[in-house]
Structure formats: C-alpha cells, structure tokens
C-alpha cells in the first residue's frame, strides 16, 4: 500500500515537473498562434483570452495579400535552400576527408574547424560588410548565402563526427576489396549510411540561414531583397504596431522550421549531442 502511494506520488511529481517545463517552453508559441487568429479587438482586450473567442484569418489575408511578406518569404527560402545545399556539400566532403581518411594534418584541420564554429560572428560584421561591398554583392541574396554557409558549415562538420564514426570501417574495406575506388566507396557506401547526419546538418544550415538577422540588416538595402527577420523587424519598428499582422507573420515564419524539425528533429538532437559527449 505505502509503496504504491509513494510510487504514485513520485510519478505525479515527474509529470508535474515535465508539465511545468513544457509550459515554460511551449506555451509562448501557443500564445502567438492563438493571438494570430483573434479579431483585432480581442487581441488588445484588457482581459486576455486563453482560448480565442473570435476566429479570423484577416491577419493572414492582410499579410499575404497586401504586405511585402510573401516577398520576404521567397527571399528567405531561396537563401536558406542555397545555404543548405552548399553547406551539405562542403561539410560532408570535408567530414569524410577528416574522419575517414586521416591524412597527415587532418587533426590540425579538425581543430581549425572547432575554432571556427565557436568564432564570434560580431568580429566579422564590419570586415565582411567591407569585403562584400568591394566585390559588389551589397543588396544581393548571394551575399547572405555566402555568410550563412560560413556560419553553418563548421558546426555542421562537427555534428557529422558522430554519424561518420558509426559507420564500420569493415564495410568500406569490403567494398574496396571488391574493387570500388575510394570516391565510389564514399559516394555509394559511406555517405548514404550517414544520411541521418546529412539530414540534420541540412536542417541546421536551413535554421541558421532562416534566423540570421545581423548581416542581413546591413547587407541588404532594398525592400524587395529583404529576408523574413529583417522584414518582420521592420513591422515591429513601426510607430503603431499591428499585433495581428506581426503574430501572423511570426506564426508563418515558425511554420517551416516546425515542419522540418518534425521530420528529422530526432536526428538533429542526436547530432547536436553526440559530438558533445564523445
């Protein structure tokens, strides 16, 4: 009897602590989503409503039909997609070289990559701006692709470490003995086996690019080339904040991240943590 009660109390404690944690982390997202479908007068009501009393899509309609949001969404998507592709190619090739071939100097290169992933980007703000304006890339989406790959790739190589380590050398040896060249072994055997790792660095690159604000705010001049973070920040900065519009914008900006994370979130977290513990 008493042990049952203790067990019950214990599991109650567990679920309660988990519930508090989830409220702290998730509830704010519920709040912006429900806010985005409330009528304007309910949004600014003195007494906030936990469950929306009105249901409207007018903010989304306004956002998509009569604001520059679709343009920002398109720009951010183009930049994130290109960042993702380039990062995946550069990082997976480098990771294969470093983790599988162990050539002279590979450990040194690995250390360089470790240093660059912790490197504070603020130190690069002014010189990157100077450099990209010299080569005429100011106000170009390519400028952001270039800097986002720089921010994403070193960490991506690091994330791949655990995934490459999990592929047994014996598989590669067997293929090599069957006459397959190194490059073939890499493309046909090793890289497909690290697919979960590749997926998680792809997401990481996408998220890094989707979030980037600092350089996007100075490298892009014209409204037509703005990305989502800079575009939304422009709406926040307006004299009279249209909360309905902003909450709808925040919801739509979060959605792609949620979808991608829902697909391979587990691999992503595995990749994040596996490298950290060795």
């Amino acid at each position: 009897m008493t042990t049952d009660l203790a067990g019950l109390r214990r599991s109650l404690g567990v679920y309660l602590s988990v519930a508090v944690l989830l409220i702290v982390v998730i509830a704010p997202f519920y709040w912006i989503f429900t806010g985005s479908i409330k009528a304007p007068q309910e949004i600014i009501a003195q007494v906030p409503t936990l469950i929306p009393q009105s249901l409207t899509l007018e903010h989304y309609d306004h956002l998509l039909a009569s604001s520059a949001f679709p343009r920002y969404l398109l720009n951010s998507t183009i930049i994130a997609a290109l960042t993702m592709v380039i990062t995946v190619v550069l990082a997976s090739l480098a990771a294969y070289g470093i983790y599988r071939l162990r050539f002279p100097g590979s450990q040194f290169l690995f250390k360089i990559i470790l240093v660059t992933y912790a490197f504070p980007s603020i130190l690069l703000l002014v010189p990157l701006y100077g450099m990209l304006s010299q080569v005429g890339l100011i106000d170009s989406l390519w400028a952001l692709v270039i800097v986002n790959v720089t921010f994403a790739a070193p960490f991506a190589v690091w994330m791949l470490q655990a995934f490459f380590r999990a592929v047994p050398y014996e598989l590669e040896e067997a293929a090599a003995l069957d006459g397959a060249g190194r490059l073939r072994v890499m493309l046909r055997i090793t890289l497909p086996l690290t697919a979960p790792g590749i997926a998680s660095i792809a997401i990481y690159a996408f998220i890094t690019s989707w979030t980037e604000y600092m350089l996007a705010s100075v490298l892009i001049i014209s409204d037509a080339n703005r990305t989502l973070p800079v575009g939304l920040a422009g709406i926040i900065g307006q004299y009279q904040v249209d909360w309905g519009l902003l909450l709808a914008g925040a919801t739509l900006t979060t959605l792609p991240v949620l979808i991608l994370f829902g697909l391979v979130g587990r691999n992503f977290v595995d990749g994040l943590t596996a490298g950290a513990i060795k």
Partner: protein, 316 residues
C-alpha cells in the same frame, strides 16, 4: 553468380586485414581535395575579413568608400579612451555572467527532469529545444507580445494577482530592460544546454549509480560525486563555447531594445554595430572588434589552461 564468390572471399580477407586497414597513397591527396573547398571558403570569409579588420582599424574609414588614410593607433586610443566602450564592456561582462548562471541552473533542472522516465519522453527531449530553433525575430515578437503594457498576459497576471499595482514597462527603464533581455536570451538558450547536459548524463554508466545506492549514498551525494565528475568534459566545452556564443549575441538585444533605454542594454556587439552603421565610423568599429577579439583570445587561452579536465590532457 560471379558476384557471390568475391563477396565471401572479400569478407574472409577483411577479417585478416581488420585493424590495419591499408592506407592507399591516393588517400592523402583525396583527403586534401575533400577538405580544400571548405577550408578555402573559411579562409576567404573568416581569415581574410579578420585580417582586413585589423588593416581597417588603422585607417580612417567612416562610411564605405570614403577616407582610407593611415591614422596609426588613433582609432584604438579613441575606442579605449571612450566611456561608451568601457560601459559596453562592463555590460557584456554582466551579460555573460548572468546568462551563464541562469542558463546553467535552468539547464541542470531541465536535464534532471528529462532524465526521469515518463511517457512521451522521446518527444519531449526533441521538442524542448523549440525556442532555440525558431528565428530570433520570432522570439522577440513573442516576448514583446507577452510583456507588453497593453494586452500583454504577463502584466495582466501581475496586476490581477496584485503583485504590482500597475502594468510594468519592462523595456522602459535600464534595470528592467537589462533583466528582461537576459531572461529572454536565457529562455532561448537553456534548452540547448539542457539536451547537451542530458546526453552527458546518459553517457555515465548506470552501474556507478547502482553501486552508490547499495553503499547508501543519497541522491545529492550521487549527483555531486558521480554526475558532476562525469560531466567534467561536457561542462568544459560548454563553458568555453557557451561563453563565446553568449558574448556574440546581438540580434535579440537589438530587436528588443536597440541597446536602450539610454544605452542600458548596449553590450559590445550592439556598440560595434551601432558605431559602424549608425554613427558611420567603420574604422573605429573595426578597432573595437579587434580589441574584443584579443580579449576573447586571452580568455580562451586562459580558460583552456586553467579549466581543462585532467583526463582530457592525457588523451591529447
């Protein structure tokens, strides 16, 4: 038919070769070729800009394309002689320490919660980092909305529960703005720290805990004598990388307060950005970047010397 035989002999031969995998001469060349694109990319976008920042810091460039005269150490003496720089420096120190304390505390609690057995554990461990994966601008919108003076739920609760007589303007005064940005940034980052800590905790062998329980160790003793030592390597890396990432935080502060009110939240990154693109002094901003870079380098060297876990050194 012809395929089957080589595979079996292949496997047999693999057994013989196991442990001393031949390294064909081509491997070294291929290795360099595979790593080269990334290394060149990073050299062009990190190393070159870094060197050009040092060069820029000795010139008198205001906005891009103007000036360019060599002025020696003038930018450095202006930066190091300005109260604004040192105040920003002090705020960055407070920022880093406060964030480190809050996030470590929250991350430990979170990791210990997620370490327990409960239904939906797998999902919770993945989705807990939601605040870290959404764009900063969304985090900013969320908290400006939650903390707003009209319609904000936090103020509604504070007033309704009688904790404060009237709505608090969280971003209106220096101290409240500083506290708010620190809390918001910590909210964004602690789940990431938590999942890393959790992975570290799970890599500690369960037998150690069982043995300690048999010996009658309390939960606190087990935490202090098994968990903490087991986390040494993880905490070492987290401390260094976390500190470098934390001092680098710009967008969340800028989008919440623009460094205000009256510079109360102007940390060094905000100072560097503002000097370059709002005061139009690129060279002076570059000098401030170089100073910050040197400080961080000194910190990183000192930190690795003093804090490096013993076992780690032997391995290296």
């Amino acid at each position: 038919m012809t395929n089957a035989t080589p595979t079996t002999t292949g496997r047999a031969r693999t057994g013989l070769l196991a442990g001393r995998f031949r390294r064909p001469a081509g491997d070294t060349l291929l290795g360099y070729l595979l790593v080269a694109p990334l290394i060149l990319w990073l050299a062009g976008t990190i190393l070159y800009p870094l060197l050009s920042a040092i060069r820029l810091s000795f010139l008198d460039v205001g906005i891009i394309g103007t000036g360019g005269q060599f002025v020696g150490l003038e930018n450095y003496s202006k930066v190091l002689g300005s109260d604004n720089f040192w105040e920003a420096f002090g705020r960055s120190l407070v920022w880093v320490v406060a964030n480190a304390v809050l996030q470590t505390l929250a991350a430990f609690i979170t990791a210990l919660i997620l370490k327990q057995r409960f239904r939906g554990q797998g999902l919770a461990r993945v989705w807990v980092i939601l605040s870290w994966i959404v764009p900063t601008v969304v985090v900013v919108i969320i908290w400006r909305w939650l903390l707003g003076t009209s319609g904000g739920i936090v103020n509604y609760l504070l007033v309704t529960l009688g904790i404060t007589p009237q709505p608090v303007g969280f971003f209106g005064t220096g101290p409240t703005a500083r506290t708010s940005v620190i809390f918001i940034n910590s909210w964004r980052w602690f789940p990431l720290m938590a999942v890393i800590l959790l992975a570290g905790m799970q890599s500690i062998p369960e037998e150690l805990y069982e043995a300690a329980s048999v010996d009658g160790a309390s939960a606190w003793q087990r935490f202090w004598h098994i968990t903490m030592p087991g986390l040494q390597a993880v905490l070492f890396v987290m401390g260094l990388v976390g500190m470098l990432w934390s001092i680098n935080v710009f967008d969340i502060i800028w989008l919440l307060t623009r460094g205000g009110p009256s510079a109360a939240t102007t940390t060094l990154p905000v100072f560097i950005y503002d000097t370059a693109f709002f005061k139009y002094r690129l060279s002076r901003s570059a000098a401030a970047s170089v100073v910050l870079g040197l400080v961080l380098l000194a910190f990183a060297v000192l930190y690795t010397r003093v804090m490096a876990p013993r076992a780690e050194e032997e391995q290296g």
